[in-house]
Amino acid sequence: MNQPVLECKNICFSYHNLKGETKALTDISFQVNKGEFLAIVGPSGCGKSTLLSIIAGLLSPESGEVLLNHQEQVKIGYMLQQDHLLEWRTIWKNVLLGPEITKTLSPEKEALALKLLSDYGLSKFKDKKPGELSGGMKQRAALIRTMVMEPGLLLLDEPFSALDYQTRLMVSADIGNIIRASGITAILITHDLSEAISLADRILVLTRRPATVKKELPIRLTLQENSPLGARNAPEFQELFTQLWKEISDEYCGGS
């Protein structure tokens, strides 16, 4: 059970331009276990998204390595900051974009997509264009698009940041529940500390650029009901929040 799905070893990465190099990540190491929900927080602009792109294989690290569990052939799903549904396609065609690209479209995939649509309350909107859906519904459709690929590891790059506050609470609760229920391993990047506490099992705090792992914080909440909204009412919530805030604000003040 405690076999890591993902292991990052001493990852370094810098951006280059003619004026010089900007170090984004130095010596980042951590691992994620199966079924775990890991949140990564850090000061803005510290290279969180870069780290996710490296894990997804869109960028290759300058040194260090990303190890995925070979026995299970982990597929990676990636959720971007915005839904990026293609507005000229119907929701149904959008949801099936992944299988269409990887040429794995099959009746089973379609059945899965249909099931996910009805699970997430979007069956009625199957043949609608994205423009006709609300922000929260679009984000759920984007999640379905990712889940249809049956990923073993889900990467979430501030997936709620484009939503307004109320929708954001609703959708993050929604999506948190969906991910918990499916038992999928997930890495969430966020700058919203309470979101991180309410969703994650463990929080990784990164330093300011060049980012490295500053602290690992396990989250154990005593809950009446197991939901992200309920988590915000847990007795430990406030203390964890203060602790996290201290770690992050140190990073902001330390440099300037």
Partner: protein, 283 residues
Amino acid sequence: MNIVEAPKALLSNTCHKKEPVSPQALYVKKHHRHHHLITLLRFFVLFLFLTLWEFSGRLELIDTFFFSSPSMVVSYFINMLLDGSFFTHTGITLLETLLSFFLITVISIGTATLLWYSKTLSEISEPYLVVLNSLPKSALAPLFIVWLGTGMNTIIVAGISVAVFGSIISLYTGFKQVDKEKLKLIYTLGGNSFDAFHKVVLPSCIPVILSNMKVNIGLALVGVIIGEFLAARRGLGYLIIYGSQVFQLNMVITSIIILCVIAMCLYQCIQWLEHLYKKRAGS
């Protein structure tokens, strides 16, 4: 039946008057009235122009030998219809324009695609495209005549040369402006640059391509007429140049009016395509 229905209609009419008219209905009515007024005034301007032209000719304020007149244009046009020259000349110009337009569209979409795929290629070709685009293409026409002879090839190449470079540049710019994050989405789903191009870039650039086509159809016509001025024995461009040389101004003006109508029709065709696309995309 009519007798029975008449009072009914009357009744409903009177009832309607008593009911307060909704603001929406009022707005729609006002909108339509405005629309009709504009159409009416447009025709009135045309009518006024034609009358002025005709009567200043008749009253010998202008010399109809140089300026022609609407009635002379109409009778010349009827002659053209009767001896069939209308169909040969208009047909050949239309054919050349459509062929150049088609080739411009294919070449520019193809080239812009290549440039999108290869950054190196686009960087190498950029200064050449800029120079070729700003060069007055009519300067090239004599060269085309020497290389390709006088005939349809030269004219079509002239038509292409006028529009193709600008078209490549604006299509490439359009392709480049596609949201980078949408391309990233394709890569995160396991796609390659081919998927990114035909799943995201091409569909999201259809409006750009259509508006580019609208510009190109006009420019193709310009190029074809320049070509016909220099290297043709048939076509409206030839009629205009020939007519001016033999002082047959009826021929020149009639040809110009036919050109106006052609230009309008071609533009409307693309507009109709655009409308069709919008309707499909909106549903």
